[in-house]
């Protein structure tokens, strides 16, 4: 008699810190009960988090792989599980398994490139891991531009880190925007796709897009308008997942499984997939 070890069986994670980012986004710091990082991952990869009896779901790991102490997850309250996660207090145990999915080609295609990160709302969560990875290995990449927008100032995820760290870095330009005017806001106002066009980047860049589908659609069109090719643009996707390992059969778009073959896709690859998303 022996115990079955399987990738479907999670390990225990302890929530050691909870940061309230926006009214509906919290960032959770997770380590194993002995205080270590649960597993290593690459930027863009995801993990399955669960509260037993409530459910299990896939979340992108928002902390950078270069952080060897813990993992972080920025989670927006939108369903049953996330509601429970939001109700957690520090010290609460959850279960975690992963890492799942492919990753951004940070050590191959991205090397030496100028990077343009474009995110909307909670879409910053999967990009934060890449951005911080790039910041950590700053010399491997060219100039970094970050365009990030949200509904309002309060809805900007990781605002503190952006202001305190990213903005201060050399060679990083952060362009923030919010959808509607606000008294305390002195920055840009307007939707992300338009802002990208306004900013008018030179096309010798690799762009990474993440946000609500409608934002992705229009920003991609905008990028193409200013001369980007789809092969230069990456995005990440999200579908209902159960196993995380390409077996349970529900997250496919055509023959590709988002959990295994994704979630990172180059936009020209997305075009090859049937229109099911």
């Amino acid at each position: 008699m022996s115990i079955i070890n399987d990738s479907l069986i999670p390990v225990i994670g302890v929530v050691t810190d909870i940061r309230i980012d926006t009214p509906d986004v919290k960032t959770f710091r997770v380590v194993t009960p002995d205080g270590k990082k649960a597993f290593d991952h690459k930027p863009g990869q995801c993990a399955m988090l669960s509260i037993p009896g409530v459910g299990e779901a896939m979340f992108s790991i928002t902390s950078s792989p270069t952080n060897t102490e813990f993992m972080e997850f920025s989670i927006k309250k939108c369903g049953c599980l996330t509601q429970w996660l939001h109700a957690m207090e520090v010290g609460q145990q959850i279960t975690i398994r992963g890492p799942y999915g492919n990753a951004f080609p940070v050590d191959t295609e991205f090397v030496g490139k100028d990077m343009l990160f474009i995110a909307g709302g909670i879409g910053l969560a999967p990009l934060r891991s890449v951005i911080n990875y790039c910041r950590h290995y700053r010399d491997k990449y060219g100039k970094i531009d970050i365009v990030y927008g949200s509904r309002s100032m309060e809805d900007l995820v990781d605002y503190k880190e952006i202001i305190d760290e990213w903005v201060k870095d050399d060679g990083i330009d952060v362009h923030l925007t919010i959808d509607r005017e606000q008294p305390e806001w002195t920055g840009h106002v307007g939707f992300v796709p338009n802002y990208v066009k306004e900013l008018g980047f030179d096309t010798n860049k690799t762009a990474i897009l993440c946000g609500p589908p409608i934002m992705i659609k229009f920003t991609l069109a905008g990028l193409q308008e200013i001369g980007f090719d789809k092969t230069q643009v990456y995005t990440t996707m999200e579908l209902r997942m159960k196993c995380g390992i390409g077996k349970c059969g529900r997250c496919n778009i055509g023959s590709k499984y988002v959990c295994k073959d994704g979630p990172v896709f180059r936009c020209d690859q997305v075009d090859e997939l049937p229109d099911e998303y």
Binding site: M1, S2, I3, I4, N5, D6, S7, L8, I9, P10, V11, I12, S50, P52, G53, V54, G55, E56, C78, G79, C80, T82, E89, G91, Q92, Q93, I94, T95, E238, L239, R240, K242, C243, I245, G246, K247, C248, G249, R250, C251, N252, I253, G254, S255, L273, P274, D275, E276, Y277
Partner: protein, 339 residues
């Protein structure tokens, strides 16, 4: 090749079941079904079992892990592996082939150890077909029902069962049965095979051709207008998926027993509306998309990811059991230009 006369078959079963669990197809009021041999059961002559043999390796539900939740802490109680070998006797070629199709999913990296554990412990004794039904179309997918393989391949004639080991595992088992069996030449088997092959040529679905489908054909079929009319009668039940030997989609759910949380895996069906439903929408909105997914998966996506191997073995179960008689053959004929 070894053989055993039909009247000694019970002794063979008794011998196998004395060492490990033995499952044989038996006739029940609800059709043939694999049941554990208990010394009295008689092997069914039915062409096939109502449910496929996939249950042996991928059961309808299985417990993955238990959690004990107390206050803020969680304790994980892992599932204990079953180490006992078991023998499944009388598996038809289509079902044998289905294991290969399931293997390509569950044994691909990362390996599914629940499945692998059962596969490692399961010995498949196949049974060649002699009287295929009108719903059989395994030959469409290149399956030779007269050579079903497995760990041991069997052929049943009017007076004997011929057994031939096809793997080391099979050889080992067959060797342990030497006292009951005798050496035999293959002539009777070959004659029967030839005869059966003639029958196969005459089957109504003999001409069914899958060559229109396969690797990389996604865009050819995905937007076909026929999906709408084909799916119109589909009730969205899971009968086809649950009797199918190759359908392997599953769901993972938690059940709170009151004292612990059991995380189990259970079969799921892409025909169900909640299969892909998320908190903020469902990419497969109507039965048209769900219906398309099932057949595209079998005929296009699976081959695309698996060197052209189709995800259907032509066992005909879905044809027999669909409440409204919509099935993969009708889909293939409508979309693939088969007549």
């Amino acid at each position: 090749m070894r053989k055993i006369s039909l009247d000694k078959l019970d002794q063979l079963f008794a011998e196998i079941s004395s060492k490990s669990a033995l499952y044989i197809p038996v006739d029940t009021a609800a059709g043939a079904k694999f049941e554990k041999y208990d010394g009295t059961k008689k092997m069914s002559d039915a062409l096939n079992t109502v449910r496929s043999a996939k249950d042996f390796f991928f059961p309808q539900t299985e417990n993955l892990v238990d959690f004990k939740v107390e206050g803020k802490t969680i304790e994980i109680k892992e599932t204990v592996k079953e180490d006992e070998d078991f023998v499944v006797f009388g598996v038809r070629a289509c079902d044998v082939k289905s294991f290969e199709i399931l293997d390509r999913v569950f044994l691909a990296d990362p390996v599914d150890n629940f499945y692998k554990n059962r596969r490692d412990h399961g010995i498949i004794v196949s049974m060649a077909c002699t009287r295929p039904a009108e719903t059989c179309f395994c030959q469409t997918f290149g399956i030779d029902a007269t050579a079903p393989a497995g760990d041991i391949e069997c052929h049943k004639t009017t007076d004997a069962v011929y057994l031939e080991a096809k793997t080391d595992k099979g050889a080992k088992l067959l060797k342990s049965l030497n006292a009951l069996t005798e050496d035999a030449d293959a002539s009777a088997v070959e004659a029967q095979k030839a005869q059966t092959k003639e029958v196969f040529k005459k089957l109504p679905l003999a001409g069914l051709d899958a060559s229109a489908f396969g690797d990389g054909k996604t865009n050819e079929f995905f937007n076909a207008p026929e999906w709408k009319t084909l799916s119109e009668s589909c009730l969205g039940c899971g009968t086809c998926t649950f009797v199918c030997p190759t359908c392997q989609c599953y769901d993972i759910k938690d059940f709170n027993t009151g004292h612990e949380v059991k995380r189990f895996r259970c079969w799921d069906s892409c025909m169900y509306s909640d299969f892909t439903r998320m908190a903020h929408g469902n990419p497969r909105l109507t039965q048209v998309e769900r219906f398309r997914q099932r057949f595209m998966h079998k005929l296009v996506y699976y081959p695309t990811n698996n060197e052209g191997i189709f995800g259907c073995v032509g066992c005909g179960r879905c044809m027999a059991k669909c409440p409204i008689n919509m099935n993969i053959v009708k889909v293939m004929k409508k979309l693939g230009g088969n007549k």
